[in-house]
Structure formats: structure tokens, C-alpha cells
Amino acid sequence: MLTRQNYFQEKRYEIKNLTLSILDNLDEMTDYYIAYLNNPSDENRNHILEAENYVDHNERKIEKYISEIISLQQLDVHDIKWLLAMNRIIRDLERIGDQLTNIITISDDTDAKELKPMIRKFFQYEQKMITWLIHGMNNDDIVSLDKVVQHDEHVNKLNKDTYQNVADLIKNHKKISESKLKMIIISRFLERIGDHLVNIARTYQKIVWKLG
């Protein structure tokens, strides 16, 4: 009995693996970020920037695969939808990478101490979300993907609390430091990361439902 390797199936497999490796990489980026907050050195900052380059590199690679597949073969509508869904997912992943680099761009050594507790809390929630997302995508597990969606409410609440905290300070005519203002912006970036993770989970859930 002969067996064969199909080009489309192989590329599909590669796309999924690359996507999962980007997620792993983003998870690592959050660890690098904590390391940077503990020790705001150039070396730690470069780790984050290098990881972001890796994310961008893989995103471009997946994009190339997708356009290549479309140009080479007349695909079934479900396959096209799968490719478009993966394209949406990598866009969200790329934006997560961008948000993480944005945070490091606007914060400097002096902010690290003040920002650390808030960022840690966000990352605690988001790292969990990334872990569920990886598991969900790896095993086509709707339950894990659903957890990602549900967990976003904690991230949203944290963002609101941060905003409220600074708003209260303004209301009470307390002196507002530059770090406090940056906190609001960073909190917004971190909240967007949660939204992107939710987008990815929802997009992948649709893929799994279609497979079923």
C-alpha cells in the first residue's frame, strides 16, 4: 500500500506549528518583561526586542505560506476559511508582540518599580490565557479555548481598576506622577493583549466547530 505526503497538508501542519511557536514566544516575552522589571538592563530589554523580531519573522513566514498555497491550488471553501482564520490569528499575535514592545518603549528604568505590581497582575492572567490557548489549539479543545474567553473579564476589571485608581487621585487633587499617567497607557496596552488573545480563541473555536 502506497502512502503520500500532500503539500497542502504539510504546509497546513507547518502553519499551525509556527502559530503555536509564536504563542510560546509571546509567553516567553512576558517572562522577559518580568525579568526586565526586576532588572531594567539593556540586555533584558534586548531579549524582548529579539523575541518580538522572532514573532514578526514567523508571522511573515506564515503569510508567505498562505499566499503560496492559495496561488498553487484551487482550494475547497473550508480550506480557504481555515487559511483566512489562521491569517487573522497571526495578525492578532503580531499585535500582541507590538503591544509588548510598545510597553517597553514608553517605560524607562525609573518607572519599573511603580509599574511592576500592576504589570505582574496582568501577566498572571494573560500567561494563563496563553497556556489555555496553546492547549486548546494543540488539541482542538473547545473547553480550554472557552476558558481564554471567560478569563478576559479579569483583565478588563484590572484595567478598569487601574484607571479608576488614577481617576480617584485626580479627583482628590493629589499630585500625579508621570509614571501614574504611563500606568493608564500601559494598562490599556495590556488590556488589548487580553482582547487579542480572546480574538484568537474565538477564531480558533470557529475552526474547531467547523471540523466537528
Binding site: R4, E68, L72, Q73
Partner: protein, 535 residues
């Protein structure tokens, strides 16, 4: 059951397990290493000495001199190495087989159970392919060791029987007869190692002395070449040369060894180690010495073989050259099939597609094209049969994938031949009915043909060199042809209207010719798709 029957059953059972183990081991190693070793053979065989060393390594790693010989035949046939370099590999291969016997003469049978256990666990309970292959290798090594154990333990009681003892004493007194008998036995088992292991076991029981076993070793060395000679009779010229060279150099070695050992000096006494080790060392020394003797004169020997086996004058028509023997090494059979398909594809281009342009200009070569088509059909059947036979073998995933690709591409090439003939048939009808295509229509057909020629040559290049980049570009250019197809039809209808032409025959014929050419294009494109893995 008496002791004799038990011992006989044990002996043959052990021999069977040993032979099955060596077969399994060689097959398993071939699946994982043949392809790499083939490329190493090309790279590392640029001098004779390197050829010998590559032969030693390849045979030892693949555990089969037959597989090394088939790989070497393939390399000589594709002109990757010269015949004298190939002879060097064969000399090395003879030394390589002795290394196996060296290992087997250590007390390896104690590890048989361990290897069988590990092998069984890996093959039965593990799903991962790589681990399963490793398991299969462990299992086969375990079988070999266990086979030796059974042979050794059963031979002891056997050798105490008077009839057996009497035969052995008789054979010891008649060394040439003894050598001939072991030569035939080796040819029967297809394994010199099995016979030498039996010899070692007999020496272990004391039924034979170390000196008396020499004819057995020499006979086993010649015996292993006999199956190769027989199977080479239907093989390619290169295959025959290598088989007869193996027989020739072993026979020469054995004759010289007989003369030297029995009339001048017997080296057994000075060889190091106990009785078993002395035998294994003698086996290695014998093959090493004849390799040393032949190495400096390989060029002369190769020229001598060229005279004995002259190359036939190539026939002007293409003939499929596929060696059935190569089916034993799927990697080599696939390479050989690919070469033949590429040859066929070139004929389709040179003798069919490129003749279409003059044909459209009225320079008729219809009959010549029909002859080419007959050759293509015949070759198609032969290559397909060969590939289907190959498909019945135990192929690895990559080999199976390559086989599917080759079958698909072969089919596309045959279809191109058929389509070209349909095009010719339509064109002949045009002529018979005196239908005249306009100059503009002719020019469009020529342009389309130029596109098709380009696509076909690109696909062929992609196929020959496994070049995915060319294949990809070729496929991505197809939208140009689809648009061109639409333009052709559009312009054709407009030109009919402009010329106030109402003859529907012209349109039907023209569009029919266009469609046939587009069919050639689609088949050419399918070759690129197949190369890329869109199968």
C-alpha cells in the same frame, strides 16, 4: 523425541532465526541509511583507496554486501563513479562483511534476550515510527545473537554422532571437496557469515581443528558470490561486470590461498586469539590480503573486463533499462526509474512537442510522430510495471511518496504523447477537408505552443533537479495561460465576424486544436504540481 532430532531441529531453527535476523537487520538499516550512504559513496569514492574504505563502511553499516553491490551498480550506471572505483568499493565490501563475523565471534549470544525484549517493546507498544525502526533493528540483532546461540548449543550433541563426526573427518582430509561443499552451502543460504558461524561452532565442539576449518572459510567466501553471479545474468552490463569481478577476485584469492597455505606456510598458528577469534581473524586477513593484491591493478582489471564485456552499440530508439535486481534496494530502483522517466520525458519534448511547430507549418512528420508514440506507450508500460512491482515491497514513507510522484509524472508524460497524437489527427483532418486556418490563427497557435514548450521544459527541469522553486513559479504563471486561452477564443470569434466567415468547420477545428494544445499544457503543469507534492 531423541537427542539427534532435537539437536537437528535446534540447529535448523537457529540457522533460520539467524538468517531471518540478518535479513531483517539489513532491510531495516537499508531503509534508514541507504539513501545517505549512496550519496557518501559518490562523494568519498574519488580514489580507489577511498573506494575500498567506503565499501568497508557501507557494507558494515548496511550489513549486506549485496545492497552495497546494487548501490554501486546504480552509481556506475549513472556515471557517478568509474568501473575501477566501483571495483574498489567491492574489494572494501568483502572486508566489511568480515567485520560482522568479528563481532559475532565475541560472546554476543548472552545479550540476545535483552535485544529481543527491547525490540519487542519498541515495535509492539510504541507508535512513534523512529522508535519502532530502532526496535526492529534491536529485534533483528537479538534474533541473530539468539540464532548463534541455538546453532552453537545444538551443534555440540550433533558432532558427537558417529556419522556426523565421520563426515567431518572425511571432509577435513579432502580440503578442496570441503571448500566446494561449503561454497554450495553458502550459495544456498545466501550468507557466508552463517556458514562461518557453523564452522566456528564445530571448532568449538572439537569436531574440527582450527586448521581443518580453513577450506570452509575459503569456500564460504566464493559461495557468497554465486547468488550474485546468477542474479546478474539478467542484470545490466555494469551489474554483470561487478558480479563477475567479485567472483573473479574471490576465486583468485582462494586459489592463491590454497597454494600458499597448503604448500608454503599456514598463518593460523600465529594469528592472535582463541580458536573462534583465529577463524574470524583469518577471514578478515584473507579478504584484506586479496584487496591489497588487487588494489594496484584495478585499472588494468577494469580494462580487461571492458574487453570481456564489451558495451553494445546504443540502439537509435529508446529502450527502458531497469534492473529487476535493483528492486531489492528500493532507493536505487527509484533513482533508476526516475532517470528512465526523465529520458522518456526528453524524448516527448525532442521528438513530439518540438515537432509540432514544423507540423503546423505544413512540414509533415506524422508517421515519425506515430513511431515515437509507440515507443512512449511501450516504455510507459514497462516503467509502470517496474514501479508497481516496487510498490509491493516494504517502502519507507519517503520512498512511497517518491513512487507515487513517479507514477503520476509517468502518467502525465504518456498522456502528453496521446494528446499530441490527437492534435496530429485533427490537423490531418483539416488538411483532408481542405480547411484553411487564417494566418492570424496559425500565429496564435504558434504562440501558444511556445508557452507550452516553456512550461514543459520548466516542469522537466523541476522534476530532474527536484527544484521546488521552478515548479512553484511554473504553477504560479498559469493565470497568464488561462487569460491567453480566453483571448484566443475572443479574437478568433471576432476575426470570423470581421471576415464575414460563416463556416462552422473552421471554428470547430481551430478550437479543437487549441484545446488539445491546452491539454498538453495542463499535463505539463501537473508535472510541476506533482514535483511540489500537490498529489
Amino acid at each position: 523425541m531423541d537427542l539427534l532430532a532435537q539437536s537437528l531441529l535446534g540447529f535448523f531453527g537457529g540457522l533460520g532465526i539467524f538468517l531471518y535476523g540478518t535479513h531483517l537487520l539489513s532491510n531495516g538499516l537499508q531503509r534508514i541509511a541507504a539513501s545517505k550512504l549512496r550519496s557518501y559513496l559518490v562523494e568519498l569514492t574519488n580514489t580507489r583507496i577511498k573506494g575500498v574504505m567506503s565499501g568497508v563502511a557501507t557494507t558494515f553499516l548496511l550489513q549486506s554486501s549485496t545492497v552495497t553491490s546494487i548501490l554501486t551498480v546504480g552509481l556506475v550506471s549513472s556515471s557517478a563513479i568509474t568501473m575501477s572505483q566501483a571495483f574498489g568499493v567491492i574489494l572494501g565490501s568483502a572486508i566489511g562483511t568480515t567485520l560482522t563475523v568479528q563481532i559475532l565471534t565475541f560472546n554476543v549470544s548472552v545479550f540476545s534476550s535483552l535485544f529481543i525484549f527491547i525490540g519487542a517493546i519498541c515495535t509492539v507498544f510504541v507508535k512513534k515510527n523512529r522508535i519502532r525502526i530502532i526496535g526492529l533493528l534491536a529485534l533483528s540483532i537479538g534474533f541473530i545473537f539468539y540464532g548463534i546461540h541455538l546453532i552453537t548449543t545444538s551443534i555440540h550433541p550433533l558432532s558427537e554422532y558417529e556419522a556426523v563426526l565421520h563426515t567431518l573427518i572425511y571432509l577435513s582430509d579432502m580440503p578442496i571437496l570441503f571448500a566446494i561443499a561449503t561454497m554450495l552451502l553458502t550459495a544456498l543460504f545466501h550468507s557466508s557469515a552463517a556458514v562461518i558461524i557453523i564452522g566456528i561452532a564445530l571448532v568449538g565442539t572439537g569436531a574440527l581443528s582450527v586448521h581443518a576449518v580453513i577450506p570452509l572459510i575459503l569456500g564460504a567466501n566464493v559461495g557468497s558470490t554465486l547468488p550474485v553471479i546468477i542474479s546478474s545474468l539478467t542484470s545490466s552490463l555494469e551489474g554483470r561486470k561487478l558480479a563477475f569481478f567479485t567472483f573473479f577476485f574471490k576465486c583468485t584469492g582462494v586459489i592463491l590461498a590454497f597454494l600458499f597455505i597448503f604448500f608454503i606456510w599456514n598463518p593460523m598458528d600465529i594469528l592472535p586469539g582463541d580458536a573462534e577469534r583465529k577463524i574470524a581473524n583469518f577471514h578478515t586477513l584473507f579478504n584484506f590480503t586479496i584487496a591489497l593484491l588487487f588494489l594496484p591493478i584495478l585499472g588494468i582489471v577494469a580494462r580487461g573486463f571492458d574487453l570481456i564485456f564489451p558495451r553494445k552499440v546504443e540502439e537509435p530508439t529508446f529502450k527502458v533499462k531497469l534492473d529487476e535486481k535493483m528492486l531489492e534496494v528500493p532507493e536505487e530502483a527509484l533513482i533508476s526509474s526516475k532517470q528512465q522517466i526523465a529520458e522518456l520525458a526528453k524524448i516527448v519534448y525532442e521528438d513530439m512537442i518540438r515537432r509540432l511547430s514544423p507540423f503546423m507549418e505544413g512540414r509533415h512528420e506524422g508517421n515519425a510522430l506515430k513511431q515515437v508514440e509507440a515507443i512512449i506507450d511501450d516504455s510507459y508500460i514497462k516503467i509502470q510495471q517496474y514501479l508497481l512491482k516496487l510498490g509491493q515491497r516494504d517502502l519507507s514513507g519517503a520512498q512511497s511518496n517518491q513512487e507515487v510522484k513517479l507514477l503520476n509524472i509517468l502518467n502525465e508524460i504518456e498522456n502528453i504523447g496521446d494528446t499530441v497524437m490527437r492534435f496530429i489527427s485533427i490537423s490531418e483532418k483539416v488538411e483532408a477537408k481542405n480547411i484553411m486556418l487564417s494566418e492570424k490563427d496559425r500565429q496564435v497557435l504558434q504562440r501558444l505552443l511556445a508557452h507550452i514548450e516553456q512550461t514543459y521544459t520548466n516542469s522537466l527541469k523541476a522534476f530532474q533537479h527536484e527544484d521546488h522553486q521552478i515548479a512553484r513559479k511554473n504553477i504560479q504563471s498559469q493565470s497568464v495561460i488561462y487569460q491567453f486561452e480566453n483571448d484566443i477564443k475572443f479574437e478568433h470569434f471576432n476575426s470570423l465576424i470581421d471576415n464575414n466567415e460563416y463556416n462552422p468547420n473552421i471554428s470547430a477545428v481551430y478550437l479543437d486544436m487549441t484545446n488539445q494544445l491546452l491539454q498538453v499544457y495542463h499535463h505539463s503543469m501537473n508535472i510541476s504540481r506533482t514535483v511540489l507534492g500537490l498529489i
